[in-house]
Amino acid sequence: MQFWLIQTLNSLALGGLLFLLSSGFSLIFGLQRIPNLAHGALFMLGAYIGTSLLAREVDFWLAAPLAGVLVGLLGVALERLVLRRLAGNEQGQVLVTLGVAFIIADLCLLVWTGDPIPVPAPEGLRRPVFLFGFAFPTYRLVVLGIAVAAAIGLFLLMERTRLGAMIRAGVDDPEMARGVGIRVSGLFTTVFCLGVALAGTAGVLGGPILSAYPGLDADMLPLALVVVILGGVGSLLGAFVGSFVVSSIYNFGTALFPDLAYVILFLPMVLALVFKPEGLFGRVRA
């Protein structure tokens, strides 16, 4: 019983992290029509920046958003200086994001070395809470709560504000959106910045669960890809549901059938691409 409960909770916490990572990935994919393959690397960069901030005695709850802001600013530079120049050349843009992913990974290796850096959970959340006779790791519950709060915040932004409606219009029909006066390229920058900032923040929040290590980017990016393809490109609800589905498949798959973990993870993606390429909640074909 404890096994199932703990695995479920682990899945929920990982799902929360995945949502923070994949919601931005999905919005960028939906609006700019490109998978930002640097998204995993920016998550990892966030995690490493977090370790440096924590090492300088910055409070954990300040370090996480601060790392998000720094990664977000890097995202603005990447979007404005590189991706913008390749507008219309989607293949070029995708390849550039892949190149940037490698560059970030290499620079991280240079700066933070190859040793994994453990990230302690914030003081006060290190002891488990006991509910119904079971021990629950408190920090993971908090991560789940933050992800749910972020999901609600993003939902309100996307569904209840004019900015959100303009972003959705840009996802629906970017050319026509420009034709009614929406500055779609400005929206691109805003969404790109927001999306990668979320990834950077998620990197720090994921630290106590995953720690920071070389290869973290390559571990996380495929998960985000599966989430977005399963849930539907550009769909927040899809990213939300997809995150928890994928994290459950991944956690239980690894625990129960460790040899088949990747088959179990990627098979749904392959099936989705073949039979429902717009995903569970999406409108745009992946």
Partner: protein, 236 residues
């Protein structure tokens, strides 16, 4: 042909889709408050012409002016903000936005047009204000596409086949609305397959054939010359 008195003028406009040369030195002028019908067979370049005015395509040569100000070369959002509205072919409403959101995202500039006023023009849209645009009927989507273009408070409205694929009753209603907007002073370029309805609304006619203007003149003159209409538009 460009003149300062024109609301919209094109002169010597060449446009390409990729490598294919679609518009060859197109020039015509829309005078303020008039309705200009842009006619031609399928593939003659009418839609390309509107796409070029709107900035979706950059003309390789020639220039486009809005009340004397050069707009060719500007981005579509800048052209919209200077006062050109587009009701595109196929309506292209934002399907995952509600009716009200479709109108709200297009609100620009100062002028008479607000969501409330669009709802007065199309009471049906008010009834459907919270519904997703993708779930509307074709006629309702057309009303929304017109309303959305009006929300930009345009000085010139471009309309690309607003009657396409609509039931005859709705076509008549759309025709009445176009006439009413024009009567209120809005300058309109109307592209239509429905020549009969269009000649009933237009003051001026421009006919293009394989990407070049073959006739420009008042509607009475176009009507008189049925042979020419038949030659360039097919039998009607």
């Amino acid at each position: 042909m460009a003149s300062d008195a024109a609301a919209l003028s094109l002169s010597g406009v060449d446009s390409f889709y990729g490598d294919s040369h679609v518009l060859h030195g197109v020039g015509f002028a829309l005078r303020p408050g008039r309705l200009l019908a842009l006619l031609g067979r399928n593939g003659a370049g009418k839609t390309t012409c509107l796409a070029t005015i709107m900035g979706f395509l950059r003309p390789r040569r020639g220039e486009i002016r809005l009340y004397g100000e050069r707009i060719s070369g500007l981005s579509p959002e800048a052209i919209c903000r200077r006062g050109v509205g587009l009701v595109p072919q196929g309506r292209r409403v934002f399907r995952s936005l509600t009716v009200r959101e479709n109108l709200a995202v297009a609100a620009r500039g100062r002028g008479p047009w607000t969501v409330e006023r669009v709802f007065e023009l199309f009471p049906r849209l008010r009834e459907r204000h919270g519904q997703l645009a993708g779930s509307l009927s074709g006629g309702e989507q057309q009303m929304l596409a017109i309303g959305r273009a009006l929300m930009g408070n345009p000085r010139v409205l471009l309309m690309d086949e607003p009657s396409e694929g609509l039931a005859p009753q709705i076509v008549a209603e759309v025709g009445r609305i176009i006439g009413r907007l024009n009567a209120e002073g809005l300058s309109i370029v109307l592209v239509e397959q429905n020549v009969k309805m269009t000649l009933g609304l237009a003051h001026d006619v421009v006919i293009i054939n394989t990407g070049a203007v073959v006739f420009e003149g008042p509607v009475e003159e176009a009507r008189r010359d049925e042979a020419r209409l038949a030659q360039h538009l097919g039998v009607f």
